[in-house]
Symmetry: C2
Subunit: 364 residues, 2 copies
């Protein structure tokens, strides 16, 4: 299933009718049936229909913009060649008509729609990006979310949770950043990981000889998928839920945190790999911020006085969400300080902000 999509932009200063007359034969030569709509004030839309189910839209705007869209169900390569030939003709004809005086011609790659493989996973800031996905490796609904693992030629397998790109096998930069960018000594330390079902953080920390790492992941199916298909990220660490210096609890982290707080259990590091900062900043999202604050408050309760809390924030472009997150930090039960770092995570296609948070040291 293929949808060819292409644009040609010709800022011009001529009447729309002349453009229509010049371009009509190109489509008619293809054996396409024409339907023309004339808005008078808004130019023309000509629709060209082919017997094989393809069609084209030619939209001519009166101020000098011409858009051509083609949609077809053809075989991939053949369709692309056909599209190129047709658009070459459109371009030539327009150059003839305006004696080469055309400001811009732009063609966009075809968008592939409706196939088994979906290559379009928009960024957190809402931009359209196409991934080089060539295989659906895993696609299941758990009680909590949709879990996809898709194969990218360059990034390896990518974990996508409910439509959000979480982590690819290429993304050691993410794991390093959320562990403190190599500036921490985990040897002999007590570590708590919230979420982290892909196993990346656990795998990297276990290498550093910690005393004990506890990981609390709610979704067993994420672990099942990742231990099979994200082995470059998690190694063999998810093969057992218990190792020499780690344990994985399949639980909601809130009751676990409450239990630890009650027991007075303390950690050197708490790493929150749960969720991105909510993107929406509308009032009805207040409960999400409250949830975030609850996690932060409980985490601070189980964090040693000189401990550190690491978390991912959001993409650098969502400045309002980042500011709101930082405002939450001033509303915790104890005073905290924070620093942030911007990191390029290969599969994200956007720069990402990570936070380090620690308890403010008062009168020592």
């Amino acid at each position: 299933m293929k949808t060819a999509f292409d644009t040609s932009v010709f800022p011009i200063s001529a009447d729309c009718n002349a453009v229509l007359k010049a371009l009509q034969p190109i489509f008619q030569e293809q054996g396409m049936t024409e339907t023309v709509h004339n808005w008078e004030d808004h130019g023309y839309l000509a629709t060209y229909i082919k017997k094989n189910g393809s069609f084209a839209n030619l939209r001519i705007h009166p101020h000098g913009l011409v858009l051509v869209d083609l949609q077809s169900y053809n075989d991939h390569i053949k369709g692309r060649e056909e599209v190129d030939q047709l658009l070459n003709k459109v371009e030539e004809r327009m150059k003839e008509l305006f004696h080469g005086n055309i400001k811009r011609v732009k063609r966009l790659p075809a968008i592939l729609r409706g196939g088994v493989i979906d290559r379009y996973w928009p960024t957190a800031d809402g931009r359209l990006v196409e991934y080089d996905i060539d295989e659906v490796v895993y696609d299941e609904d758990s009680p909590f979310q949709n879990i996809k693992i898709l194969h990218s030629k360059q990034f390896g397998n990518i974990l996508i949770l409910s439509g959000d790109v979480n982590l690819a096998e290429s993304d050691l930069a993410y794991t390093k950043a959320i562990m403190g960018s190599g500036k921490e000594d985990y040897t002999g330390k007590e570590v708590l990981i919230l979420g982290g079902g892909d196993g990346g953080i656990l795998y990297e920390i276990v290498k550093l000889k910690p005393k004990m790492v506890t990981m609390v992941e709610i979704d067993q199916m994420v672990i099942d998928g990742c231990k099979k298909y994200m082995r470059k990220t998690c190694g063999d660490v998810l093969d057992n839920l218990k190792g020499e210096c780690y344990q994985v609890l399949i639980e909601d982290c809130i009751p676990v945190l409450k239990r630890y707080a009650k027991e007075g259990r303390m950690f050197d590091y708490v790493i929150n790999d749960l969720t991105a900062v909510p993107i929406s900043t509308s009032p009805e999202e207040d409960s999400t911020w409250e949830f975030l604050r609850l996690i932060l408050d409980l985490s601070m309760k189980v964090l040693k006085q000189d401990g550190k809390y690491f978390t991912q924030g959001n993409c650098i472009n969502l400045t309002d969400a980042l500011t709101l997150y930082e405002e939450q930090l001033s509303r915790l039960y104890c005073p905290v300080e924070f620093s942030k770092e911007t990191v390029c995570v290969p599969s994200y296609m956007e720069l990402w902000v990570f936070y380090t948070i620690w308890k403010k040291q008062t009168d020592i």
Copy 2:
């Protein structure tokens, strides 16, 4: 100028006519005029035209795929809301019709076409990616190429030469990689840079106290644009074409290399920042490979026996082009060896391969 573009995919198993009948009222309620084409074998295309110049295509495929495309000339935000409302209705109606039994619904971000700012700069491997461009900073044609510097909210200013994303202010990773990834000692060394008009390599090497850096850039206008708008990349190094330990020659590098070779001038490092490996691997491109080999041969002639040659290769997905490049290396006048490294350059949206090449050391 805005073109809203959106998709809804509903793999279904019902006759197309039922789908058309269910969705028609949604568009008609909008005061849109309908034109329906029935292919018999290939389903329906319904075109809906609004008085304000917008239109919609509803394409119903017989095997159960429904595509909705909307194109409008509206104000940005208003247009997006309208599109969302309409697509919500389409989705609801489809869920009613099939009792919630719909395999996938996918909406894509709107594509903005024909405006002053062009946000779409496809990757080297041909994928559609949208950048967060918000300003055209510089746009000029030199005798050699089109030079654009566009501002990205997250990457800073981006240099785009004839449509290819060259370097953004965020891309120190590129400059570091093409300088040998921090493993080289440039102190007191003789360095030759081919191309490099953005000044990034020159700026970074000059900091490392080389004996002399010679940069040969053909296009004065690239330097003019970058010294003004890419200062995070080049600092003040392009303000003068001559410094204490560097000189910039505005020349074609081929005659310069020939002159140096004739004079017996030798360098510790040659850094080729000229052009990517040709993407096309078709026979008519043979001259491009010959050009690449000429540059390589001449560079080896001016490279000391223990010197190193650095260059960027191509995106990691263009494996054929990378292989062809490596084949050229075995066809030089002297035997060479090489290593390669894959690097994530933030603004590229794809992983990039860099080469280190050196003269094979014989019988020592």
